[in-house]
């Protein structure tokens, strides 16, 4: 499957990695609930590391969409909360998407 690390690019990883990514994702969500920014960052770092070490970077010209998208590693607690509660996190780039 294809995973995007925001701010870094897309990676093709083995489908088996899915379960591990989901587990790490749950940890990250718990860190946000607990208001623990350090745990949030280390969780995001682990997610990114799992993708980097287990995957190959996609060519820039590849047009395939990702199956999973991972937020930037330095996401703040506020940004994470915004992401979980509304859609304002992803800015509109004027007009409808292509």
């Amino acid at each position: 499957m294809i995973v995007r690390l925001m701010g870094e690019g897309q990676f093709e990883v083995d489908d088996d990695l899915r379960a591990r990514l989901d587990a790490l994702d749950d940890d990250v969500a718990r860190a946000v609930e607990a208001g623990d920014e350090r745990a949030l960052w280390s969780g995001l770092q682990e997610l990114a590391e799992a993708v980097r070490s287990g995957g190959a970077k996609l060519a820039d010209e590849d047009l395939r969409p990702s199956d999973a998208i991972i937020p930037p590693e330095d996401l703040s607690l506020d940004e994470a909360r915004e992401l979980l509660t509304n859609e304002g996190f992803i800015p509109d780039i004027e007009g409808d998407a292509a």
């Binding site: 994702d25 047009l63 969409p65 994470a80 992803i90 800015p91 509109d92 998407a97």
Partner: protein
């Protein structure tokens, strides 16, 4: 409750799969999508240019603020020489406050630098994808049935939309960062009463004014003493408080 990754994936997908629904004529959709992509690419480029400009402006401000620190340091010394410990303390207090803001700006500047690098790379990837889409749309037009074309367009457009979201977010975050830095810079302006530095004869700054009064005062004393000495061996000057040289 979905995690961050799950949530983000959902949001991006929802945002960029709209184009699929209204496509009637695949060829038209392809051309329209491409025009749209070019337009958005321009927006992204403009966003990156804005961040670069804001960052340059902050760098210039930073140099000015460093001069303020040196100036406050010099003022503290002058005040001490003039036996005005109260003024010296005030100058040093302001210096510490300015320095703290400067350190914060410096740290944010380093983060911005890293973000800017990612922005440039993200924009490069986006350009490459848009260019790939341009080539692929001709292939799709020529070789696929309408139904097949629909699926391929949907995929490619979503893939590009995702990259747009990625760079768009990076631009947004970089802008937020420059705004935070600007807020710190204005705090410094308030601390040092802006303008005092550019205009050396300025009377706007309290410390400046008091120090210049002191130096004027001691000049008068010096002159007075000189006159007295010229006029004759009367009383020797003894009450020159601000004597420094």
């Amino acid at each position: 409750m979905p995690g961050l990754m799950g949530r983000l994936t959902l949001i991006v997908k929802a945002k960029f799969s709209k184009a699929l629904d209204k496509a009637e004529n695949p060829n038209e959709t392809l051309d329209y999508s491409y025009e749209e992509q070019l337009r958005q690419l321009q927006n992204v480029k403009r966003g990156i240019a804005d961040v670069t400009t804001a960052k340059k402006r902050l760098e210039i401000q930073y140099t000015g603020m460093q001069q303020q620190v040196e100036k406050l340091d010099g003022q503290a010394r002058d005040a001490l020489k003039a036996n005005r410990e109260d003024l010296a303390r005030e100058a040093l207090t302001r210096k510490a406050a300015v320095q703290a803001q400067l350190d914060g700006i410096m740290q944010q500047g380093q983060q911005l630098e890293a973000q800017q690098q990612k922005l440039i790379e993200g924009e490069k990837t986006l350009s490459a994808k848009v260019e790939a889409f341009r080539t692929q749309k001709e292939v799709i037009k020529a070789q696929y049935s309408a139904a097949e074309a629909q699926v391929r367009i949907g995929e490619a457009a979503t893939g590009i939309g995702e990259q747009m979201a990625d760079v768009g977010l990076a631009v947004q975050r970089a802008k937020d960062k420059t705004e935070q830095m600007q807020a710190r810079a204005s705090a410094i302006d308030e601390l040092t009463t802006s303008g005092a530095l550019d205009d050396l004869t300025s009377s706007g700054d309290d410390i400046d004014r008091q120090l210049s009064q002191i130096s004027q005062g001691s000049q008068v004393d010096d002159e007075l003493a000189k006159m007295k000495a010229e006029l004759g061996p009367g009383e020797a000057p003894q009450q020159i408080e601000g004597e420094t040289k």
